[in-house]
């Protein structure tokens, strides 16, 4: 008899799906006020206020706020821009810094209580960011080397027999113009999407188990514990994805600036 209950109580559960990502507009009827869009605006506001506050009263002996702001800035400038791009890196620090803080803040919104939605799990946001990066590094490369030399460097690798170019040139073109922006955006999107879905499965599942019979009630703390553990794991993934997106942008810019690929 308990077994029947166990089976039956599983029937009402609706597993989380892609529908959970299409949230209704906050203001009814206005489709531009969905949660992701509002969160993106909130993130821009938060980043601006934070860094203006952190840099306004700059002192030799930094306050805690100034120290936090400067360590993020220093991380992007030194570890991402300078180590990868080399000399003349200061031109790209503003873009890389904007990219890093924007992605990081929006990702972390995925685990902030009450907000709890990573805007990057809608694929259009990573697409736009990847298009910016795409335009940036090709523009820089073309302006630095001229369009003929830039394309020649991409298409024809030195030291290869002529016949092999038939095989390799399409691959180089596809890699530089299609696969790079696509993987850049899809990696961020897929990580955020899967992470949010994973948290939904464990939290909603735990909640549903709690409403079941006594046997299921005993299991639900494990589901919640797993959900909490995965939240910390998600925090790591969110930071890592913001880092990788910015790192790859820096490396693509460095590749476009380098004379020899």
């Amino acid at each position: 008899m308990p077994l029947v209950h166990l089976l039956r109580s599983g029937e009402g559960f609706v597993p989380p799906s892609t529908n959970d990502f299409n949230l209704p507009p906050v203001i009814a009827g206005n489709e531009y006020t969905t949660k992701p869009i509002l969160l993106v605006f909130l993130s821009v506001l938060m980043i601006s206020v934070f860094f203006i506050m952190a840099s306004r009263k700059a002192a030799i002996v930094p306050s805690k706020l100034q120290f936090a702001g400067e360590s993020i800035y220093g991380f992007v400038r030194n570890d991402l821009a300078r180590d990868n791009i080399g000399h003349d890196f200061m031109r790209f620090v503003p873009y890389l810094f904007t990219l890093f803080t924007f992605i990081l803040t929006n990702n972390i919104f995925g685990i902030v209580p009450l907000l709890q939605f990573p805007a990057m799990s809608h694929v259009s946001f990573p697409y736009v960011l990847a298009i910016f990066t795409f335009i940036t590094f090709h523009y820089i490369g073309i302006r630095k080397q001229g369009i003929r030399k830039y394309m020649k460097d991409i298409m024809f690798m030195p030291g290869v027999p002529k016949a092999a170019y038939i095989l390799l040139t399409p691959l180089e073109l596809a890699t530089f113009f299609i696969v790079r922006p696509l993987t850049l955006s899809l990696r961020l999107f897929a990580n955020m999407f899967a992470g949010h879905l994973l948290l939904l499965v464990f939290i909603l599942g735990g909640d549903h188990l709690l409403k079941g019979v006594i046997g299921l009630k005993l299991i639900s703390p494990f589901a919640f514990a797993f959900g909490i553990g995965l939240t910390f794991f998600e925090f790591m993934v969110q930071c890592l994805q913001a880092y990788i997106f910015t790192l790859l942008t820096a490396l693509y810019i460095a590749g476009a600036l380098a004379d020899e690929h």
């Binding site: 991402l80 030291g159 290869v160 092999a164 691959l171 596809a174 890699t175």
Partner: protein
Amino acid sequence: MTHNEGDAWSIFGYLLSGLLFWGGVGWAADHWLHTHFFLLGGLLLGMGASIYLVWLRFGRE
């Protein structure tokens, strides 16, 4: 260390574009000629070409 990470991702990109491009060519050939072996041939060719490209870019001294 950061360079290594970027290299690993660009290897991934090369392999993916090799498989997609030549596999796509093979798929299109199959589609129009109503055959069944071009797809596999294209995938293998793309895999070979992209591994060759990776060797040229990262394995060569």
